[in-house]
Subunit: 156 residues, 2 copies
DNA sequence: TTGCTCCTCACGTCACGTGAGGTGGC
DNA sequence: TTGCTCCTCACGTCACGTGAGGTGGC
C-alpha cells in the first residue's frame, strides 16, 4: 500500500486517502467481485492504481458504491437504471461545480437542472411507494404473529 | 376453459373458481414463465390440470404467488429463503386446521407453533429494518431535491 | 522463501426471458 | 381451417460466485 499512485486525477496534491479493493469491499460489506463488475459495466472507476496495477479507491468512490447498493437493495433497480440515477447525480455535482454566472449557457444549465429535479422527484415517489407497500406487508405479518401468539396461549 | 378438471384435491364439490396460467399471471402482474419456474423449484403447485394438460390455479394458489413476489420485491429474499417462510406459513395453516384438543400430541404442536412464531417475529424485524433504511435513503434524496430546487430558483 | 493481497480470464449459478416446435378447444 | 392459448425443451441473460494460474510488496 506504500506504492506510488498513478493517474489519480487529484487536483490538490494533499493525501487523497485511497484504499485497496479488499479494504474497500470490507468497509462497504460488498464482494471484491462486485466492485470489479461495477467497473466492468462502467458504473465505477477507481481513482487510482498502484505501480503493480492494484485498484485504489477514494472516499467518493466508496460513497458511489454505497449508492449503487442502496438502489439495488432498497428499490430493486438493475444496473442500467442505477446508471441513469448516478448520471443524474453526477450532472448535478458538475453543474454545482461551475457557478451559474461563470457558465456560458445559463438556459441550458437551467434545463439540465430541471430534468435532474424531475428524476429525483420520481425517485422520491418510488421510495414512498415502497415504504407504503412495506407498511401493508408489515401489518399482514403482524396479524399472523398475533394469531399464532393467541393459539399458543390457548395451548398452554 | 370449459374442460373437466382433474386432480383438484377439492373437498367440497362446489365451484372451486380456477383459472388458467395466462389469466393468473395477468391478474398478479407476473410472467407466465415465472409461474412455471416457481412450480419447477417446488414453490407452487397448481390445484388442477385440464384434460389437455393446462395448469389451473385456485385463489389460494394466486395468494401464494403474491406472497412469493412480496418476499422477493420488498425484502429481496431468494427462492430458498422464501421456501422456508412459506413452509412456516403452511405449517401454521395446517396446525390451525386440526384443533388443539383433537391433536394427539399437544406438546409437539405447541413447539411447532413457537418456532413459527419466532420465524415471523424475525421477519417483522427485517421489515422494520428495511423501512428504517428506506427512511434514511428518502431523506438523502429529499435533501438533493431541496438543493436542486434552490439552485433553480437562483437561476431564474 | 513463505504468506498475503492483488491481478486477469473463464466457467458456474440463480431467476427468469425468449424463441422453437407442437397440441387443443372456440 | 384459422386464431388463440397452452405445452415442453432448451439456449440466452443479468449480476455476480468461484476457482485457475500468475504477479508483487512485507
Amino acid at each position: 500500500m506504500g506504492e506510488t499512485v498513478t493517474e489519480a486525477g487529484q487536483v490538490d496534491g494533499a493525501e487523497p486517502d485511497l484504499c485497496g479493493i479488499g479494504s474497500a469491499a470490507a468497509q462497504l460489506g460488498v464482494s471484491i467481485r462486485a466492485m470489479r463488475y461495477y467497473e466492468q459495466v462502467g458504473l465505477l472507476r477507481p481513482s487510482g492504481r498502484t505501480a503493480g496495477g492494484n485498484r485504489l479507491y477514494s472516499r467518493r468512490d466508496l460513497a458511489r458504491v454505497q449508492r449503487i447498493r442502496e438502489l439495488q437493495d432498497l428499490l430493486g433497480f438493475n444496473l442500467d437504471e442505477i446508471r441513469a440515477v448516478l448520471a443524474s447525480e453526477d450532472l448535478i455535482a458538475e453543474l454545482r461545480a461551475q457557478s451559474h454566472s461563470a457558465s456560458a449557457h445559463g438556459e441550458r444549465r437551467r434545463q439540465l437542472l430541471a430534468e435532474a429535479l424531475d428524476q429525483h422527484i420520481a425517485l422520491l415517489e418510488q421510495v414512498d411507494a415502497k415504504i407504503s407497500r412495506l407498511g401493508v406487508f408489515r401489518s399482514e405479518i403482524d396479524k399472523v404473529v398475533g394469531n399464532v401468539r393467541a393459539a399458543l396461549t390457548r395451548a398452554t
